[in-house]
Amino acid sequence: MARSAVAIIRSLPAWLTAALVLALTLGTLLAVALRAEVGRGLSAGDWSAIRFTVLQAAASAIASVILAIPVARALARRQFRGRGALVMLLGAPFILPVIVAVLGLLAVFGRGGLLNAGLLALGVAPISIYGAGGVVLAHVFFNLPLAVRLILQGWLSIPAERFRLAAQLNAPIWRVLELPMLARHAPGALLVIFLICLTSFAVALTLGGGPRATTVELAIWQAIRFDFDLGRAALLACVQFALCAMAALVAWRITPLNGFGSGLDRTVARWDQSRWDWVWLLLVTLFLVLPLAMILWRGVPSLPDLGPDIYRAAGRSVLVALAATTLTLAGALALSLRGGVLVALVGSLPLAASALVMGTGLFLLVFPFVNPVTVALPVTVGVNAVMAMPFALRLLSPAVADIRSDYGPLAANLALGSWATLRLVILPRLRKPLSFAAGLTMALSIGDLGVVALFATPAQETLPLAMYRLMGAYRMDAAAGAAVLLLFMALGAFWICDSRGQGDADAG
């Protein structure tokens, strides 16, 4: 009896975290559904939106992963100056607010962009980014870095001895080592990116070229904002969760939850390098860096003109991000320590949640008790923490499992007890993935426009919201400056957190 009580208390933080995630995802959906009156159900348009949503998400996931393979391979077997910086820079698009990234992409691929200017000079007909191709291009821009990291992790998980053995036997490395590795790691990467693209709204719409590119999230938007048809919104949100659940089931039959990201700073000694590595690295660097450079070029001149309100909003963003990061890390750690089905659940539910349903549901939940405006920032903290949970979990959970399998017997034999094991063994050994997860959560939270837009008054503006409002008030130059500030802050926060974990805990 005493033991089971202790076990319950030990897993209490994990249950609390899962409860928070469930409340913000399925709970908000329930709140919306309960408030609904009889709606008109799903229309033909909704069904074509569902079809398009699945197709574009699948295409984006497949394209991202296929392109990531040669890039990850090049990174896995090449050591060069600035490799660490490149790996970090690769993470930048992932944390950019959508509108900023889209404008950056257009500066390169748009009608008046660099690419078409180049084509024009060569006398070639210009290309149009708009349409399904543009949607996939933008999603690849956002998610290729993530795919590279996930797959690079797989490459680095192949022990160096096997490469040596394969080289000595003159065996085909691709078939003997790399294909089996990809079979284990690619499905997980496909799933994550598929889920992220499933809930895409602004990207798909802005670059989609028209109503053919309608996603489920847009249909939800319309149902809530124009029709006030909460029943239909809830129905569509259920469809979104169902799609997510199906994808998750398929992927988990093939592969376990895999980790990503930390410890990518080593290469594998190999004997089969190809010149193509440099081509791939150059191409992906150009693809990812040029749009970022255009954002900088456009925004840096306006940086000195940013008013105090923008800096106040920036400060608020940092505070929100710090709070969200604390919550995410504590929750993800608790869940990783507990393990089991909760990890799988929490690891994917937030990815499938509709931001608008979440916001509306929160509004309905909060409104009877307090004025939602007064809790705008705490609500944002909670939502940002939950949204980052899948990523933190994917980082921490496999690392905790590794530490347990390596040092669990020793800790048990030494009778360290669970707190001492956490303090003396797990936390010190988790430093790298924890720091990386902290950096990622900080950056995601700083860059997220998210739910605060539904609640906040000017006194509670975060930086992305302030930037968006500048754009809405014709102040494009100031907005471009704010975008650069946002980019610096997100990358800076990431770098500060991540570099804290880079020192070797085992040295000296």
Binding site: G210, F226, D309, F369, V370, V381, G382, T457, A473, Y474
Partner: protein, 329 residues
């Protein structure tokens, strides 16, 4: 959930409580409006100062997204809302707003300068504008949807399912072309570069050179002219007329400050409110106040088109479906 949020929100609730005890003697008027109205460059701050100077009250603007979000917010809150006034709905939304039964007659009589007759006793216009395609002056102008569809011009528009100007465009094409509207949309398809979720994205794409013209307002060039001293932008008046966007305010029937709310409704048509509108909201004022320099250079369409709010509500689903079908080919 409740406990979590109340404990997380404790500090901000505390701050609100402190603030409200300090001003407990003065009554508060809560006005729910769209975001950009309350921003530091919007009309909010100047109007707040002007009204508070004469009302001995505290005027509080609360922003909630755009006009459509405003109505959704009100529908979520229902009769429990704290708002006394709602400001910023447009005529595409007033039928749905009226159906909520939350509003009371405004009782204001004023000389409105709208290009169309206005006799609504619940929704009071505070500003208005013509929808128009905004372009650079060196772009060859067109004067009808037919001419636009037949040209090689590239345009960016907003999605009628997520944006108020986007919805206004559907009404515009219908009001000026009638039964030919589906064919116009089919022929416009190859002119449309893309459809954006909102005005912000569309206007940015236009400024970045992604399109020759963007759906906005005839007053948009005034911003570039007055705030940026850039006279390169213009807007196109169409021969059959341009659609009107009329922004309205209304009083909540359940207000706990009825006298103050009436005072503010009357204030809306006074110069203290109207003078602020042109250079902060970049729209035309609703009454006859003098316009700032630069507004005289704006395109004035030959005619203002406006469907009644009831027609707009009835037609909306059909128009959206027609639009979707035509552009999905």
């Amino acid at each position: 959930m409740k406990n979590l949020f109340s404990s997380l929100g404790l500090s901000s609730v505390g701050a609100i409580l402190c603030a409200s005890t300090a001003i407990a003697q003065t009554p508060t008027l809560n006005v729910l409006t769209y975001d950009s109205f309350t921003s530091e460059w919007g009309p909010g701050p100047a109007i707040e100062a002007a009204f508070e100077a004469e009302c001995a009250c505290d005027l509080v603007f609360t922003g909630a997204g755009d006009g459509a979000a405003l109505l959704a917010r009100l529908q979520l809150e229902g009769t429990r809302t704290d708002a006394d006034i709602v400001l910023g709905l447009d005529t595409n939304l007033t039928a749905a707003a009226r159906d909520t039964g939350l509003f009371a007659p405004h009782g204001v009589t004023a000389d409105l300068t709208l290009p169309v007759a206005w006799d609504d006793d619940t929704f009071l216009p505070f500003d208005w504008g013509y929808l128009a395609f905004v372009a650079n002056k060196d772009t060859p102008a067109v004067a009808s949807f037919r001419a636009l569809a037949d040209s090689d011009l590239k345009i960016v528009i907003q999605d009628p399912r997520s944006s108020t100007p986007g919805l206004g465009l559907l009404m515009w094409v219908y009001a000026s072309e009638g039964y030919a509207a589906p064919q116009i949309w089919a022929d416009l398809a190859d002119n449309i570069v893309t459809v954006t979720p909102g005005w912000t994205e569309a206007y940015n794409l236009f400024l970045e050179g992604e399109a020759d013209a963007v759906l906005s307002y005839t007053t948009s060039p005034a911003y570039h002219l007055i705030a940026e001293e850039d006279d390169s932008k213009t807007s196109w008046g169409f021969d059959a007329g341009n659609y009107l966007q009329v922004e309205v305010a209304a009083k909540l029937a359940g207000t706990d400050q009825p006298a103050l709310a009436d005072q503010f409704m009357a204030f809306i048509t006074s110069p203290g409110f109207q003078d602020v509108i042109p250079e902060t909201n970049w729209m035309y004022p609703a009454t006859d106040v003098s316009l700032p320099g630069g507004f005289d250079t704006l395109t004035v369409p030959s005619k203002g088109l406006l469907l009644s709010s009831q027609d707009a509500a009835d037609l909306r689903d059909d128009l959206v479906e027609t639009w979707r079908a035509a552009l999905s080919q």
